[in-house]
Assembly symmetry: C2
Homo-oligomer: 237 residues x 2
């Protein structure tokens, strides 16, 4: 069944007038007709089944909502990722949604040679991936920030899993992870600078961890780290 992330409040009597993009998708691309069913979620009210009541090319209306799943969200996990090339950053956002991250925070590091990204496009990718993967919320995509600024304003109580390619960090499954709010940090393809590595290693809330003996692309490192975290202390157990 088609799943849509919608902004509307969801309740038994609600009628949902979808925006042009979603209306076009249902009417023109998927060719739904009156009476067809879709699933909707808004990140607050769980998942609901809804019925197509009106089909116009630019205006589809859903009614007859009934709740099929209560609201739930995955563990409290952020992914902080250095700005990398567009295609790989988009892959990372798609995979972060599939692998249950709550938030993706693009970061500008010393060896990052970009300082902006199309955040609106990343949000669209996160939404589509959340719809496909079956989760009940869409990961937030933050505006890019300098890594130093991000660390200077660190949320108390959140631990930082710092993927360290230097080779002397313990493997992630031996790094002593414990349950709680975490952020995974993935550096740029050129790695962290020695100063950044020293800063990161000295943070009281940071845990360095390694990802095997080979050099990984940033997207691979992000996916592998999210996977191991979910398997060790997240919702894959």
């Amino acid at each position: 069944m088609i799943r849509l992330s919608v902004p509307h409040d969801l309740a038994p009597g609600a009628g949902l007038d979808l925006d042009r993009g979603q209306s076009h998708y249902l009417a023109a691309v998927m060719r739904l007709v009156v009476g067809d069913e879709v699933a909707v979620f808004n990140g607050r009210d769980g998942e609901w089944r809804a019925t197509v009541a009106v089909v116009g090319k630019r205006a589809v209306r859903l009614t007859a909502l009934s709740r099929t799943r209560p609201q739930a969200s995955g563990p409290d996990l952020d992914l902080i990722v250095a700005l990398v090339k567009r295609a790989r950053l988009e892959t990372i956002v798609e995979k972060a949604a599939e692998l249950g991250a709550r938030r993706v925070r693009p970061a500008i590091t010393e060896r990052t040679n970009a300082d902006h990204t199309r955040v609106d496009r990343l949000r669209a990718i996160a939404t589509e991936a959340a719809e496909q993967t079956g989760r009940l919320d869409v990961p937030q995509i933050a505006e890019p920030m300098k890594l130093a600024a991000l660390l200077a304003d660190w949320e108390p109580g959140r631990r930082l899993l710092f993927c360290d390619e230097s080779g002397d960090a313990p493997p992630m499954l031996r790094a002593g992870l414990a349950e709680g709010p975490w952020a995974i940090l993935i550096g740029p393809e050129g790695g962290f600078s020695p100063t950044e590595r020293e800063t990161l290693r000295a943070l009281p809330y940071a845990t360095p961890a390694g990802l095997g003996p080979r050099i990984l692309r940033a997207d691979t490192a992000a996916i592998s780290a999210l996977t191991l975290w979910q398997a060790a202390v997240g919702d894959w157990r």
Copy 2:
């Protein structure tokens, strides 16, 4: 340092006449000059440092080889993956190389709607990824085979880790993996058919394992499964 996978035998006295593609890459793209150094490997003789001796646009010659690493290869791990859309299959091959698979075997399953792929292109992707990731061999890319034929000709002693999206398989880290030769099997985006699942579950050499509560794209499933296998019984420990 630039790393190249070459077919030549590597020994102290060898002179390597590179093919047109690699010559063009070194001369025209990377603009190397006589005296520059590159690293070469052939999957048999370890990694060697070599010096550019002659630079022509279509013919670069390397000499003065000295060995920098003895031959080594990762654990004996195959990835069997249903043919999926070109871009995702190419991602899977790139990541299989980074994550240390020895061989990628494209498979045709009941719900696969393709029966061929550009194997030569996948081999080029595997080679480039092996060069970048620092391994000393290039993963083999097999010709696509029907899953049934592949199972009918199964290599004795190799175990099969079957990624089962049905929801009742144990998480991979709890599936009781043990060291030895393995193959990871990733199904198509439409999943395995009920008959295929029954066949797979009945195989004496198969272990079903789950990959968390969300629906994963085939490329995500492949990367996550390779990661967990390496962390549990491979060379990420």
